[in-house]
């Protein structure tokens, strides 16, 4: 395993929709690549932009934030507020020369286990396509 590069992808996902969707994917035995590690928060509204930047600074090859669909937020509108911040993250990444495709926000409901599996595939494939994060190289 040491020789082969496997991406490290940090996910921060909300308890009510995406975490439940991920659990549903598990129950349904939907298979997906093992590159993502999730941190559970109650709502994507909790996701401070610094968490995402910290993950990139720590060398994450990709970061995923996943919450409820618009209008379905358990806390009414936390996901709208999170989504607004995520646009800022994207423009910030462009400014510092980090490919903004390494960051993604998705909306997976508690009943979308199959979609969670698809998101896992997509995120993993995209990051594999982009290769290791350049930040790691700078830090060497």
């Amino acid at each position: 395993m040491a020789d082969e590069w496997n991406p490290k992808i940090q996910a921060i996902i909300c308890n009510w929709c995406s975490y439940a969707g991920a659990d549903l994917a598990g129950g349904a035995r939907i298979q997906y690549p093992p590159d993502v590690r999730a941190v559970r928060v109650m709502c994507t509204g909790r996701v401070d932009m610094l968490f995402i930047l910290k993950a990139f600074v720590d060398g994450a090859d990709g970061v995923l934030v996943s919450g409820c669909h618009f209008g379905d937020c358990h806390y009414l509108e936390g996901n709208y507020k999170a989504a607004k911040r995520m646009f800022m993250i994207k423009s910030l990444m462009k400014n510092i020369g980090l490919d903004d495709k390494r960051f993604r926000m998705t909306f997976v409901s508690a009943s979308e286990g199959a979609k969670w599996g698809k998101v896992m595939e997509d995120v993993s494939n995209k990051v594999r396509e982009l290769g290791p994060s350049p930040i790691k190289e700078f830090q060497k």
Binding site: M1, N6, K8, Q10, I12, N15, W16, C17, Y19, A20, A22, D23, A25, G26, G27, R29, I30, Q31, Y32, P34, R37, A38, V39, R40, V41, M42, C43, G45, R46, V47, D48, L50, F51, K54, A55, D58, G59, A60, C68, G71, D72, H74, Y75, L76, E77, G78, K81, A82, R85, S109, A110, S111, E112, G117, M120
Partner: protein, 671 residues
């Protein structure tokens, strides 16, 4: 992040039989945990949720002087409460517990040829959980009193049953219905399968009971406007739609002695405006001041202000009772309740869009609820089934099952089984053969799903009565323009040949979908939707009446297609579940509140507008402007904490150090 040298974490890795141990190396993960900083003890066990497993936690807390517990097992959504109690029984604060989800989000999704990768992922997950556990703090659940009242939204048979049960358990219950009468879909049916009870005869006693139960306040012609609060303390604002007619109580409140609507119907007799009656699907007229049918509860007339010309004839006819107020306006009324049951039922899909069957294009193609009204003695034809095109009695009727159900063609079609159409179509076939001697019944079906108690026997009975069963989806229906007879084209898949049958009439057993407006309603109560659009239960098997919003419960078809027995059963279950917090008197809320660290707060007030609950406000403290949290209003989403530019908002149990520790542990640890 500085390590907390005091922390002593115990790690317990669960095999879950082979659920986890079959896909990754549990022993290796447990051994690895021992090498992590702050881990004082690590073990693995077959079933951590078993009594011996829980005892291991309790004993280890004492023996190894642990300050935090990590269990690597299933989802915290499943067993977090279990292990929190073990942690508490072992002498620690119950919030000094963190779970690593190595089953739903690891062993079950990396099953084939992924052993090493899954083991590595489990190690990462344990490392992240330990990192968070180091920063866990003692928290105290907040106990809040529960309002001794419940609300049921939707007064079909499910809502009525739930309200009756709650009320009989001594709970003040508000039964909210947006149409002028309670009764719902069941009051539109003629007979019920398989017993052939008259639907209205068995429903009406419940409607009457609901109308006169001292603990039920019937709020017909009301709609939910807004919902605030949380379990135990919901504040629901209802729109009391202008009915134009006062009941005796309302009239008395306005000083009209002995007045108010007594249901005499003098007003409707003089009303000059004629409109189609939606209860009869437009097959019968009603006036602008109307009741839906003879057995409405409450018996009070309603003015349809959209069609009323305000001629005032009804006011004159009403006379001294002075029940009618044509200037009445909508009112918003607030209700405080502890728990709520949603029972909003179903609509048919817009079957007109399945153009191949010609609904609305051909007069003699009707849907099943129209058939119910046409065959019902209280319906527009007095129970004499007639063809809409010419009023003649049909001699042959076809029933198209799965009309839009079990259909993956998209559009209005639904992939799911609507679950009761097979049975009611069998009943319809029986009814026409019974009522119209010599009339032939044809059922076009894919499978007959007669799964309930005495259902299969009923199916046999209809077979013996002479109904023709043709196994095949109906490809299309065409009309003979002269006779208005219908040609039904299908393939008889048992005989393997195409079929063209000429029939007098066709009834489409249309697929069902959530009631119009149910989607908006569920969002007001914070209830999620299943992928098929029905409201999502907390757990499909173990919590079918609950939702992810504490204190909100589901009954009947709004949660998914079900027939009357299942609806009533679920309504009784939901009523029982909804009564528990009310009888307990208080509930514990997870203390995930926001807290302001006043030293860091600059008093900018950015967070105040972010809070969807109005829980934050600026206040003066030690001569500075700082933010203050009203804990009772905070639901712990953390939207404020995710934004605060000064990092002055501490989200309990999801603090910045805890989350950053997890991120660091994943990306920097373990190399």
């Amino acid at each position: 992040m500085a390590e907390n040298p005091e922390a002593r974490i115990g790690v317990f890795v669960c095999h879950c039989g082979t659920n986890i141990a079959g896909s990754l190396d549990v022993k290796d993960v447990a051994e690895y945990a021992k090498t992590l900083p702050n881990v004082a003890y690590s073990a693995e066990y077959q079933y951590m949720c078993s009594t011996p497993g829980q005892n291991m936690i309790k004993e280890a807390i004492d023996k190894h002087k642990l300050t935090g517990i990590v269990v690597a097992a299933c989802s915290p959504r499943l067993h977090e409460p279990t292990f929190r109690i073990s942690t508490k029984e072992g002498g620690l604060n119950m919030f000094r517990f963190e779970m690593a989800n190595i089953r739903e989000q690891n062993s079950w999704v990396h099953m084939h040829g992924m052993h090493d990768e899954a083991t590595q992922k489990a190690k990462d997950q344990v490392r992240m959980a330990v990192a968070k556990a180091v920063y866990l703090e003692d928290l105290v659940p907040k106990s809040v009193p529960v309002e001794k009242a419940a609300m049921v939204v939707g007064a079909g048979v499910g809502g009525i049953q739930a309200a009756l049960d709650l009320a009989s358990a001594g709970i003040k219950t508000y039964l909210v219905e947006r149409t002028p009468t309670i009764g719902g879909r069941m009051s539109q049916l003629d007979k019920t399968f398989p017993t052939l009870d008259c639907s209205q005869c068995i429903l009406a006693p419940k409607m009457v009971d609901a109308g006169r139960h001292p603990n039920i306040e019937l709020l017909s012609y009301h709609e939910v406007e807004t919902v605030e609060g949380y379990i135990g303390n919901f504040e629901v604002t209802l729109r009391k739609k202008a009915r134009g007619v006062m009941n005796p109580v309302e009239a008395a409140a306005k000083g009209i002695v002995g007045g108010g609507c007594n249901g005499c119907g003098d007003c409707t007799a003089v009303c000059p405006v004629i409109k189609p009656n939606p209860f009869e699907f437009g097959m019968a007229p009603r006036k602008a001041i109307y009741i839906y049918h003879a057995q409405v509860v409450p018996l009070i007339y309603t003015v349809d202000f959209e069609s009323c010309v305000k001629c005032g004839l009804c006011v004159d006819a009403c006379g001294e009772k002075k029940a009618i107020d044509l200037e009445m306006q909508d009112e918003l009324v607030k209700y405080k309740i502890g728990t709520v049951i949603l029972a909003t039922g179903f609509d048919f899909i817009n079957i007109e869009e399945k153009k191949e069957w010609g609904y609305k294009r051909f007069d003699n193609v009707i849907h099943s609820l129209e058939f119910e009204r046409l065959i019902c003695a209280s319906g527009p034809t007095g129970g004499h089934l007639i063809r809409p095109s010419d009023g003649k009695t049909p001699t042959s009727v076809g029933f198209v099952l799965c009309a839009g159900s079990r259909d993956n063609t998209g559009g209005v079609a639904k992939a799911y089984c609507s679950r009761f159409c097979c049975m009611y179509s069998l009943k319809h076939a029986h009814q026409i053969m019974e009522k119209i001697p010599g009339c032939k019944a044809y059922i076009f079906y894919m499978d007959i799903r007669s799964f309930g108690k005495a259902y299969e026997e009923f199916y046999y009975r209809i077979q013996h009565e002479g109904c023709k069963f043709i196994r095949g989806r109906v490809a299309n229906i065409l009309e003979d323009p002269d006779t208005k007879n219908l040609h039904v084209f299908t393939e008889d898949t048992l005989l393997g040949r195409p079929v063209d049958i000429e029939l007098d009439m066709v009834v489409l057993a249309s697929a069902i979908q959530p009631r119009d407006g149910a989607n908006e309603l569920r969002k007001k109560f914070g209830v999620s939707a299943s992928q098929d659009g029905w409201m999502l239960e907390a757990h499909p098997k173990l919590n079918p009446c609950g939702t992810t919003t504490a204190g909100v419960f589901l009954a009947g078809v709004c949660q998914g297609p079900k027939d009357i027995p299942d609806t009533v059963a679920q309504a009784e279950g939901a009523a029982s579940a909804a009564s528990i917090p009310i009888h307990m008197g208080e509930v514990e809320l997870e203390p995930y509140f926001a807290q302001c660290v006043e030293d860091l707060c600059a008093g900018c007030g950015m967070c105040v507008n972010l809070c969807p609950y109005g829980a934050l406000a600026l206040t003066e403290s030690n001569g500075r402007t700082v933010m203050k949290v009203t804990e009772a209003k905070c639901k712990g989403c953390g939207t404020c904490g995710g934004f605060c530019p000064g990092g002055a908002i501490k989200m309990q149990h999801f603090t910045t150090p805890q989350i950053v520790a997890q991120i660091d542990a994943f990306l920097l640890g373990g190399q």
